[in-house]
């Protein structure tokens, strides 16, 4: 049965950043150069072809874009300037919007003004909430976290954090299940045994924490930068959500604070490096920047910066009022970052990438079992 070609999809993808994919004349250079391109996942050309032809179902049905870590080799070599790297990046953004059933992510990607408005709205709501709660609970004075006059008693913040984390986890989980369904579940002729699912489950945390595949790029710096930002972010999350009391407790628990400082340095250093890279546009993967990338970086940098300011002013300088305001702004950065970015924008890749690696292994094992992989070097006798 013939699949209908939809030439309009390429216009839609332009808003996600795929501006040059139509220039590709399929010479196969990118797939042959890509360090990650191995059977049965030949990236990036197959996905680019599906995009050009508007085969939406096929595009939704593959997690190949998640296997690309944008080392930029393909874009450098492309004879037609079709920017395969940026196209894969745009496909990731598009898939993010496809996995999210609510349609909010699609709205955000299609118009960055909408996302900005949402971010501002959420941060204002957070500010008002904090102020109202602070005045009503906090006996009329602006206090810093625990102790007298705290805007929000730690345990309440703790509960809010856990609730927010739970909610986000739920959203990410549903999107991940949808990703699994689109790429694997509905695929009739692919039989993956339950044991195979269980056997490989360790891959999820492994890739989540180490981004092992990113390290296979020739240039190691991008992987290290990403790892620094990621680990710092996770440490900060752990400190803020799980160990909130000890982190905020008056007497300094050196262990917590050392990790805190390291995490802040990691976050600030990484985001500033990324932002400078995107301004200078020297490496290929920094050449094209989608508005969502900017918002993502500014939010993290803002959160980290305000975090350290309120910590320094409270702990070292004892300027409580400055700390209060810094803490308030800090929350105005953190809540939108978590509430908006994780489920509907760039940050959701923290779930999709490890899942993609996991699914890739499952698919490869299943396919290997079903049909013996064709030896790569066996030449094909074309003319009978």
């Amino acid at each position: 049965m013939a699949i209908r070609v939809n030439p309009k999809l390429i216009d839609e993808l332009e808003t996600y950043g795929a501006a040059d994919v139509q220039n590709c004349y399929h010479c196969g250079n990118c797939s042959a150069t890509c360090p990650f391109s191995k059977e049965p996942f030949v990236i990036p050309r197959r996905s680019m072809r599906n995009l050009q032809m508007g085969l939406e179902e096929k595009l939704k049905g593959t997690f190949e874009p998640w296997l690309c870590y944008y080392c930029g080799e393909c874009s450098q070599q492309c004879p037609r300037g079709a920017e395969p790297g940026e196209t894969m990046m745009s496909l990731r953004r598009w898939l993010t919007s496809r996995y999210d059933l609510t349609g909010i992510s699609r709205l955000f990607y299609r118009s960055w003004k909408a996302e900005l408005a949402a971010l501002i709205l959420v941060s204002l709501v957070t500010m008002v909430a904090f102020l109202v709660m602070g005045f009503s609970l906090g006996h009329g004075s602006l206090g810093v976290y625990a102790g007298a006059g705290a805007l929000f008693p730690d345990h309440l913040v703790h509960i809010l954090d856990l609730a927010l984390a739970g909610l986000l986890a739920a959203v990410l989980l549903t999107n991940s299940i949808r990703m699994w369904w689109l790429t694997t579940g509905r695929n009739r002729n692919l039989h993956i045994s339950l044991w195979s699912y269980v056997k490989n489950v360790f891959l999820l945390p492994y890739h989540f924490l180490s981004q092992a595949r990113y390290s296979q790029c020739e240039k190691k710096l991008p992987w290290l930068t990403h790892l620094a930002i990621f680990l710092s972010w996770v440490t900060m999350e752990v400190l803020v959500i799980l160990l909130l009391e000890r982190f905020h407790s008056p007497e300094t628990v050196w262990a917590a604070h050392v990790f805190g400082y390291l995490a802040t340095i990691g976050l600030l250093g990484g985001t500033i490096y990324a932002m400078v890279g995107r301004v200078r546009k020297r490496e290929t993967h920094y050449k094209h920047t989608h508005p969502t990338d900017w918002m993502f970086l500014i939010l993290i940098a803002g959160a980290a910066f305000t975090g350290i300011v309120q910590h320094a002013s409270y702990r070292w300088l004892g300027l409580d009022s400055v700390a209060n305001i810094a803490y308030l702004i800090h929350m105005m950065f953190v809540v939108p970052l978590l509430a908006v970015q994780i489920p509907f924008s760039k940050l959701s890749h923290l779930a999709y990438r490890p899942l993609a690696m996991y699914l890739a292994t499952l698919h490869t094992d299943a396919l290997a079992a079903q049909e013996p992989a064709v030896a790569q070097t066996e030449p094909v006798r074309l003319a009978a």
Partner: protein, 574 residues
Amino acid sequence: MEELKIGVFICNCGSNIAHHVDVDAVREAVEAKPGVAIARSYKYMCSNPGQDMIARDIREHQLNRVVVAACSPRMHEKTFRNACRNGGLNPYLCEMANIREQCSWVHSDQLAATEKAKALTNAAINRVRYHEPLESLTAEMCPATLVIGGGIAGLTAALELADAAHQVYLVERTATLGGNLARVDLTAPHLDSARDLLTERITRVRANSRITLMLNSELQSLAGYVGNYAAIIRTKNGSGEVQERKVDVGNVVVATGYQEFDAGRITHYGHGKLPNVVTSFEFEQMLRKGRIETRHGKLPQYAAIIHCVGSRNKEFHPYCSRVCCMTALKYAHELKSANPACYVSDIYVDMHAFGKGHEDFYKTTSEVKTLFLMFEKNERPVVRKAGPNDDCEMLIEVNETLSRERIEIPADLIILMVGMEARADSGEVARLVNISQDKEGWFMESHPKLDPVATTTDGIYIAGTCAAPKDIPDTVAQARAAAARILGKIAKGKIEIDGVFAEVNEDRCSGCRMCNELCPYSAIEFNDETRRSHVIPAACKACGACVAACPSGAIKGRHFTVEQLHAQIDGVLA
């Protein structure tokens, strides 16, 4: 008979001959033959040192016959005759043995090929014994030229000759000049105006006093030989009656162009059945009229262009028609200009964007989001009417190569890139001017690289798409190349006629006049006083029919005498 001194020169032709024929063995075999003074072999006999060797040997060994065993005489007989002339030997005392095209290239068994080469060389040696020195004749060269076809090729050739102050008769079958190009709006790849190009040429042709323009006219017959052709042109004037006019010309340029492939012959495209399936020329019409829309006046939201309609295809024409790829890209731009919201799909086999500026044009066509879909050469895209709930008029189903999917392409308007084929009447034209056609009906040039515009018949030239599909710049270049060859001949003033023709031996001729009607060129006249027949050398084409038919063997076929052929027969069987 003077004492025979034959020089035998055997060519290796690089490895083309030496690969299968043991050249030294052939040399040794012929060295001992009676009359052979010297036998040599060399890598490239036709090269400068090779030809100097022949001339030097003729002088040093006083050779009076030369045999060259190398490639086909059709390739280098003229070259080696010149070498003999440079050595002071009459060029007709030279004979070639074809041990390449008809020996080493076609027999891979080394032993058999070498034996055959020996036999062929031996036959040539036998034959050359009976060769006699012949002098070529000269005849006047008429500076006028007949140009057949009023398209861009004919116009350009006519102007080039007329601007050099020579008379040109331009014969065009239809009532207007411009040919196929007149039906085109813009040209690829720079989208220049085809009309301006033709207007410039037509205005200059009509304004040039040296060009006699004959519209609604056809060549009725052509008699004579190079430099002295008599052409009879038949013209149908307004009121339908026909006049005939004889013109004397020295050369003829055939520039009759091509006809488009009839798209109806491919049933699965539905041309003629589905209203919105149009050929490229029908679309040009729409462009010129400014009505780029479907049959019921709707701007096409989806348009599709299908390449290789009738070309590169086992069932119709195996060759590529060379210009349709660029024309298709032009249509993609023109569709987008007429309706920016139109989605254009281009269904091709290989994108032939080979010329100057073509690849860049292909890139800009991609940039305006044309969707390129590739299919295998002998795959058959099928066009059918779309269903009621489809948002388009038609659907094209094809196995797409780059995605390995069987796809359906939406299309409100489908443009078929019809290929070029030889004109239906090209056979008659070929017979009139005595040139040959290849198996596809295109006129055959004498050699694609040595002589791309000349034909096997002296004085008849071909230019443009009548020889093979080509675009406008190549057509213009060929038209001017034909003009250059003619200008070269006219400048020399005289025409050299080969010394090979028939000759009647008066004492043996019995006056039976059998040969008179026999000759297709009526080159034998009967002298009433001497009651003998006589051959007119200039008119004789040396076919030899009369020589074979003369009951008393009175006619000698110079350079193809009975003795020479008998000697060759014995030699080839020795």
